[in-house]
Symmetry: C2
DNA sequence: CGCCTGGTTGACACGTATCAATAATTGTGG
DNA sequence: CCACAATTATTGATACGTGTCAACCAGGCG
């Protein structure tokens, strides 16, 4: 956090970085671009060459179905590398939009080369986060496949909270949350109406209070239990990392 | 394919491997273990240290909900590294079960170390496949969130077909498929009854014929169109790979 | 032969979608 | 500063898709 980079802060939750590694990250973050809320960073199917380190704000990826409905796929918070999963493709696989005013650091995907080439530690870290993200998406898959509306929304909020804790305070269960109920509906495979009812239910049961752009998880244990949520960022094993 | 390794075959779809890289893979695949169908490779929450290169057969990962229902998360086919997403964790995040008699090559996760350390090409390839898998899971997320029963099953079959083509013949639209309707239901967030009805519908509409352990996609274009399926293994960009 | 698993079919239940009306809030321009 | 429009959230009535339950058939296997 001393360097002011949330990406560094996030990585250092798991493995200390040497100066050379910090420089590799600084190279990724040297440019900044401000993005207004509800504007696009990238359109699906367009050729592209940039990835983004998200410094501040909220960005999500989504797709539109032929009938116009939307599915939000990922929610990115500061410390995330946005669009990393697009690295293998020469055209963007999804649309990317800022949910709120944000600051991103664009860099070309070729900038990954020196990381792979010179820093086994950073490579292992990037790899690790990619794997964790996979498991997180599988958890969401489970939620969409098998949970009811209330639990889907609860699970979703817990997922966001776990991500926020990587770069922010570890203890609180409260955060600013600029997404609308329609956004959450599109992320959880529901409708805005169901999310409204689910949110009311969560409040009435004393599980979570989400109102006016703020979320407070009131009973984290109970909510985690009924949605079988696991925080995948706990208990990361770095013992297998390549070390000098 | 000349070496008999489907992992090599899969990787070489995208980037030629040098002899040193082939040796790295051979090291992963030096042990073989036969697994009978419907038996477990790994139980969720147990400490573990092995990953598996799947050589033959079918393996899936799943979780059980408190009420006993099951959600299948991933289907692995030969050429996949099973459990790679568990590398960051010291306990298995999901259950792993063979769907049919299979052959796996177990290796310790520390075996990834020489790859990260000595082969930027292999590292980039592993990274690439991890990213592609992420996008594939996001596509499934979309399917579970927004598609109806018939389209979910159709989309699921197309996803399997695309994976089979990586190591098998590229042209056919037919494959052996040992999963039961209950398995597919648990993978698509449906019930066995809905899958039975969806499968009938796909057959009657001339889109796909799935019977007696075999699948034939009858109208690939139409099915892809109505489910907005994209084959993420097409048009992979390897231009950014680190090269000597 | 009889059991067990997997698949099919139909009746009915239930949860979420859809539609619609309204309120509360935010933003905009006069 | 107010008026007006647009967005977001709330609530209730109804529709629809899939779940649930149950009966039945077919095939494999002890």
């Amino acid at each position: 956090m001393s360097s002011g980079s949330c990406l560094v802060a996030k990585l250092e939750n798991f493995e200390p970085l040497c100066d050379a590694d910090r420089e590799l990250i600084a190279a990724l973050e040297k440019d900044e671009r401000a993005i207004r809320g509800r504007t696009h960073l990238r359109r699906s199917g367009m050729p592209y060459s940039e990835l983004y380190a998200l410094k501040k704000g909220w960005v999500y990826s989504y797709t539109i179905l032929p009938d116009g409905r939307r599915q939000i796929l990922q929610i990115h918070v500061p410390g995330d590398i946005v669009g990393l999963y697009d690295a293998p493709f020469d055209h963007a696989s999804h649309d990317l939009e800022a949910a709120a005013n944000s600051i991103v650091c664009p860099f070309p995907k070729a900038a990954l080369d020196p990381i792979f080439r010179h820093s086994p530690t950073m490579t292992a870290l990037l790899f690790t986060f990619a794997m964790i993200d996979q498991v997180v998406y599988l958890d969401r898959l489970r939620a969409l496949g098998r949970l009811n509306a209330v639990d889907r929304v609860g699970h979703f909020l817990l997922t966001i909270l776990a991500r926020m804790r990587l770069t922010g305070e570890k203890e609180g269960a409260r955060f600013e949350f600029p997404l609308t109920q329609t956004d959450v509906a599109d992320a959880t495979g529901l409708t805005n109406v169901s999310v409204s009812k689910a949110s009311k239910e969560l409040r009435e049961e004393g599980l979570a209070d989400w109102r006016e752009g703020r979320v407070e998880i009131l009973d984290e244990d109970a909510l985690a239990r009924r949605t079988s949520f696991s925080n995948r960022f706990d208990r990361i094993d770095v013992s297998w990392f390549p070390r000098p």
